[in-house]
Symmetry: C2
Subunit: 300 residues, 2 copies
């Protein structure tokens, strides 16, 4: 098994979209630049969704236009439909992320569509992406539990994973959107996923609501998973929305991985400095979220 | 393997001893009473150490005298020497805790003695405890790493574990005092411990400095360990003293265990209310530590 663990840094998108205050574009750019300097090779920078839906990411176009590019660094944008995809392409993103919940209720709330309808939309995106040779990645969200439906049936996770996998998603990001998965559940789910899918095309995207993300990551590492999503500074926890707790913190993830002997290519000290600068800015804005960890304890 | 996990609640001792502000005795008693109501069966309530050394626990005698007792609940007191032991006995504690670091430097700083000298003192305590039929438990602290010596040699952990085990410690509490252990290291250490000692006499006591405590606990659960120490509300993290980060939070531990199908006998909601009351009090005192998690992010 490989000694190298890939990270998808999702702080600028999944983190900031859950912040109460709008972070000005220049701060976002400084944050992303800092992440690149710290050695991050994949960064999800924004989402091309309606400004009304996600006001914190309303500057997606300005951000994309102003963002310096770096050789060997892949910038991802989340796109909910073909229109969003065309924007991501126009602004030269290196890859796109698609998101589909494994539960009907969450897709209805999040995408305003049934799971099947949402997937039909994604088929159009994927057809175009293939034509453009644009790599795409699929989040299977609410894969552990759903705020509306409770524990998610594994069969649904496998079914929608299969659908994106067969259409060519370079990676499935199996997501614990509300952070309720435990290591036993992670072990069981990953085991089933690896029966069906190549280990180098499966990642985990864990929120740390109940502090179990690193335990779950350890359970997945034991089974050979070598790709995880995380958010620098653990930003994105919203103490007032139990469904939107922060992603696992990149610093904690990297610390654990390095101490276990894995390589990540990330300079932990540089990463901490970058996170700290953003956190200091968020604090001046009265953000209730200093970090994911800080918020987590309020959440419960 | 058993489905029941035992918890030693150490918040009133290990948690509060690291708080900057002195918590008045009546608040401590309310805290401990709340823990009992939440189903906690073992609680380390205080330490009979010099008031000069640990001012937050200077009221050990007053606390002990006023503390209501409950059938089936074991109150523990930490004792560093025979004098402390006699106090614990006088105040009718149900068990005592002894603490010895696996590294010389830490014993010198913490106990003002070499490891061998400290152990000689404990032999006197143990001889008396046996005569009194007082159960005793041994912390092997700095078992993963030491703030002065770096990574702790496993041979030292095994050696001092063996010494207390053979003298009749009912449980060894293998302690990651500074929270640097990772799950791989935990797996390896626990495996070696279980080659030598009965699984029902080994516990882990983990601080959560780098958010790895639950991952380490999962690694230990996999190997059959069913006893852990934790601190309600994760209290005790001190953002200004990297060596004194909070214990793993009891709420997170219980949440994970229950979600994995383990039983603990703890009522999580009642526990949360108790922790919250104490945290609210600590906040009114301007404690920088709202919870272990909150402090942790400042710490790094």
């Amino acid at each position: 098994m490989s000694n190298f663990v890939k990270i998808m840094e999702v702080g600028p998108r999944d983190g900031l979209q859950n912040e109460k205050s709008f972070v000005p574009t220049e701060h976002k750019i400084a944050f992303i630049e800092g992440l690149v300097q710290a050695g991050m090779k994949r960064i999800e920078c924004t989402a091309f969704v309606s400004k009304r839906w996600i006001p914190p990411l309303a500057d997606h176009a300005e951000l994309a236009a102003a963002l310096p590019r770096h050789k060997g660094v892949s910038y991802a944008a989340l796109v909910p439909n073909l229109q969003g995809y065309e924007q991501a392409k126009k602004y030269n993103f290196n890859e796109v992320s698609l998101i589909l919940a494994a539960t009907q209720s969450h897709n209805q709330k999040n995408l305003n569509a049934s799971t099947e309808e949402a997937f039909e939309r994604y088929k159009l995106v994927i057809a175009q992406a293939k034509q453009d040779k644009m790599p795409f990645r699929a989040y299977i969200s609410c894969a552990f539990g759903c705020p509306y439906e409770g524990k998610t049936p594994v069969s649904e996770v496998l079914k929608w994973s299969r659908a994106f996998y067969d259409l060519g998603a370079y990676e499935l990001s199996i997501s614990d959107t509300i952070g309720v998965g435990n290591p036993k559940q992670t072990h069981e789910l990953v085991k089933l996923l690896l029966k069906e899918f190549s280990v180098d095309r499966v990642a985990l995207h864990l929120h740390d609501t109940h502090s179990m993300a690193l335990a779950n990551i350890y359970a997945a590492l034991e089974l050979g998973i070598r790709s995880f999503d995380s958010s620098a500074g653990g930003i994105g926890g919203c103490p007032y929305a139990p469904g939107a707790a922060g992603n696992v913190e990149t610093e904690s993830l990297v610390y654990m991985l390095h101490s276990m002997g894995f390589k990540t290519g990330v300079d932990l000290e540089a990463l901490r400095k970058t996170s700290q600068r953003l956190q200091e800015y968020l604090q001046t804005q009265g953000s209730p979220t200093i970090t994911g960890h800080a918020s987590r304890s309020v959440l419960r």
